[in-house]
Structures are given as C-alpha cells and as structure tokens.
C-alpha cells in the first residue's frame, strides 16, 4: 500500500464535504457555470476536483466504474480507503469516472427507467480545460449559457431521452461544471 493512499482525504469531512457539495449542486442547478471545489488531494490520475466530488458523493452504496487510465491501483486503493465504494463495470455503475474517450460508448450506462428515471449513471468526466464553448439552454439557465464540451453530438442525443438520460460532471484541476439531462446543447 502506498503512503499516499491514506492521505489526501478531507481533513474535516463534515464541513469540507458541505462546501464541496454546494459547488456540485450550484454546477448542476446552473449548467454552464464553472465552480471552484477544493479539499481533496487524490493520487494521479484523479484531479483534486474529481477527488472532492467522489469523496462528497460516494460511499459503500455507490458502485463506481473506473474507465481507461483511471482504472489503476492508485485510484482504486485511494477510493476504496476513503469512500468504501466498490468497483463494477459500466452497466451497473452509479458513478462513472474517466476521460471522455475512455468512457465511450455511452449506450452501456443505465439511463433509469420510466418509473424511476433517477436510477441512472452520473458520469464524472476529467477534462483538460473548462471554458466557454457550446451553447446551452434549459432549466437552470437564464436565456443561454455556454460551456466547453468534449463533443457536441452525444449531448444533443442525451436530452431527447428525457426524463431518462445521463447526467455529467466535468472536472478540471480544482474546478468543475455540470450538464444535467435537461440541458439542450447547440
């Protein structure tokens, strides 16, 4: 076991996760806004923002899928120690973690059922940048917003499934943004 497996969690979990959650919630409630999030120092390839989101939302009840490079011993050991979450394949995960290319294809993730659309995966996507980009409209957005997306087409298909669909959190360094299934992209 690496020494950094045990370090890098929240020093004061109750208040740090409260602040981190508010960042995640503001991002999800206002798609296109970029929020600061801090408090976690996970081992690479997890970014600080990715680590903070996972510490805030994951525990023994949330199966995680680690995609591509993220599926490494350092990430597995750190998440297992700090969250207790177990690791599964994409078809059964509640949270999927990875870079955009590694997370494809999106068709394998649960999108919920018509009676329980909340039983769907939230994908946490590690991005190289968060900036202005594609035009967003929908709930949470006054007039319109803009956000850099790894591609456009997949995010145009996703809202057509509403109320089913996938929700996305984009992390980069110590910042994050989000794109719920209700947001239309053009």
């Amino acid at each position: 076991m690496q020494a950094n497996t045990l370090s890098g969690g929240f020093a004061d979990p109750a208040t740090q996760s409260a602040h981190a959650f508010r960042s995640v919630m503001e991002a999800m409630a206002r798609p296109g806004t970029i929020q600061d999030i801090e408090g976690a120092a996970p081992p690479a390839p997890l970014s600080p923002a990715m680590g903070a989101v996972l510490l805030t939302l994951c525990d023994t009840e949330t199966p995680i899928y680690l995609a591509g490079d993220m599926d490494c011993e350092a990430a597995r050991a750190w998440l297992a120690f700090h969250t207790g979450a177990h690791f599964v394949g994409p078809a059964h995960c509640m949270f999927a973690v990875g870079k955009w290319d590694a997370l494809a294809p999106l068709a394998v993730y649960p999108i919920g059922t018509s009676e329980y659309p909340d039983r769907s995966t939230t994908l946490i996507v590690e991005c190289s940048e968060l900036a202005a980009g594609a035009t967003l409209t929908g709930p949470g957005i006054k007039d319109q917003a803009t956000l850099s997306l790894p591609e456009v087409e997949a995010f145009q298909v996703n809202p057509t499934l509403f109320p089913l669909g996938l929700d996305f959190i984009f992390t980069c360094g110590e910042r994050l943004a989000a794109l719920p299934r209700s947001t239309k992209v053009s």
Binding site: A18, H19, F21, M25, E61, P117, G140, S182
Partner: protein, 283 residues
C-alpha cells in the same frame, strides 16, 4: 459544537440526501425517493425540509425559517434554533440577508436572488395522491404522463363551484413534463415558482421524497383556456403596513365579528412599517 456532527445528520445520510438532490435538479419536478431518517421532531413538523437543509448548509450560511410567512411561530423558531445549535450557522429574519431559507407553505414576498436556496417542507409530495391512493398507480401515471385525472379534478371544481376552487397546493406542470405539488403554498405564490433566480428544493420526510426546481425553470399552473389560472388573495390592503400586493392572513380580533387583514410575510410587513408605511389598523 462537539456533541453532534455538523448539521446533526451523519455524513453517510447527508451523502444519500445530496445524491437525491442532484438527481432532483437533473429531472425537475420528479420525486426522487430517499431514505428519510428519524429526526428529533415529529413527522409533520418539517422533517423533510430539515433533512434537506442539513444536507445543503455550510458553516458560512445565513439561515432563515418561515412558517406560513412568519419568522416567529413555534415551528419556525424551533427549526431555526435547531440549526443554530447543531450547525452553528448565523440566522436572520431578513429575507435578503439569508442564503438558505426553509419555508413552510409560503414563498417570501421579496424576490429571491441568485445564491439563495429555498427549502420547502412538504407534507404530501404526490399531487395525484388524493385522486389515486396507490403509489404503484401514481408512479405509472407519472411515467406515462397520464395527467387527465388532475384536469378532471379541476373541471369538477368548476362544475360544482363555477370556478377552480383549489386555493392552495395548486398543481403545476414543470418544464412541460411532470405534474408537481408545489407544497401547500397559497396559489397566490404559484407564479413565483417559475423563472425564480434561487434554487428551490422540496423535502417530504414522512413520504420520503425529494424534488427540486433549478433556477429559471418553466413552471405552469394547470388551468383551462376558458378558466385561466388566477393568483388570488384577500381583496384588502394590509392593516399594519398598507401593502396591496402581499398575501394576507385574516385575523378575528374580537367577539363581535371584527377582523383585520395583515401580511402573512412578517419580514416584508415589518420592513414596510419601518420604512414608514402605515395601514388603517396600525397602532
């Protein structure tokens, strides 16, 4: 504060509630099931709202609680004190100073701004429950978008009373998809639900449901072309501050049938009185 975890609830419970809140925001108007906990107050006293508030509060927040508009009723005072003691947050009665406002059955008169969160206490989150008691059926009705029964109910109001007599918990449709119960707010408040700058979160403790309206969400009160929705209030000015645009409570003040009308939003009324506005019953 060392006797309790910050904001009373344990961290695993807060994570579960937080996940439900995020799904609620992603699917506006859909009721997300959650594992409601026992709180140190009875069901019906706002346990759903309290759990949602506990999951969103940070130590930096300023917290306000209103019960039917008032900051000084038992329910409001006890919940405000609860979070003062268990979360150590600052509290206020001024709507504009608060970052998190927990409410029972009202939306403040003063427009809310970005950065604020409005947490509703919800007794029965299912708008179809009094029309169809079986959860298995109402869930199917929501999944099939089968809301004809709700229109029949409103139509029966018209055939019996000549107008839509539903005056509170007036059903709304969110983003053209889910019919949602706005909690028992007077229908006077319904127009404020849509296009609001603040985040609106709804918690039903006994019924174990959380739902949400992100800011600037489209919320439409159900109606008919020939009987359009009307946000109604008592046709009087406030007796204390003279406001003509606020929702009023009717108070019986003697045994001879004397009565007066006052703002239900105490902060709004007090601020107006402090600014020199005076109604006909003001001392």
């Amino acid at each position: 504060m060392t006797e309790y975890n910050f904001a009373y609830l344990d961290e695993q419970t807060k994570r579960m509630i937080r996940r439900a809140i995020l799904k609620g925001l992603a699917i506006p108007g859909y009721q997300v099931p959650f594992a409601s906990r026992e709180m140190p107050m009875p069901y019906g006293w706002g346990t759903g709202g309290v759990q949602v508030s506990a999951a969103v509060l940070t130590p930096k927040d300023t917290f306000k609680v209103i019960d039917q508009g008032a900051d000084d009723t038992t329910n409001a005072v006890s919940i405000r004190t609860f979070f003062q003691r268990t979360a150590g947050v600052a509290t206020t009665t001024a709507t504009s100073d608060a970052t998190v406002i927990q409410t029972r059955h009202r939306i403040p008169e003063e427009p809310l701004h970005e950065g604020q969160i409005l947490v509703y206490q919800v007794p029965i989150p299912e708008p179809l429950r009094f029309l169809e008691p079986r959860e298995s059926e109402t869930r199917k009705m929501h999944s099939l978008e089968e809301y004809g029964l709700m229109h029949v109910k409103l139509y029966e109001d018209i055939s019996r009373h000549g107008h839509i007599a539903t005056s509170y918990a007036y059903p709304v449709k969110v983003e053209g998809r889910y019919v949602t119960d706005p909690s028992p707010i007077p229908k006077f408040d319904n127009p404020k639900l849509g296009d609001m700058a603040a985040i609106q979160l709804f918690g039903a403790g006994r019924e174990q449901r959380i739902y949400a309206l992100p800011p600037y969400t489209q919320v439409v009160s159900l109606d008919f072309q020939d009987h359009p929705f009307e946000a109604s209030k008592a046709d009087h000015p406030c007796g204390m501050c003279g406001a003509t645009d606020s929702y009023l409570d009717e108070l019986i003040i003697d045994d001879a049938g004397g009565r007066m009308f006052v703002c239900s939003d105490t902060d709004y009324c007090e601020a107006r009185q402090a600014a020199g506005h005076k109604g006909k019953d003001a001392a």
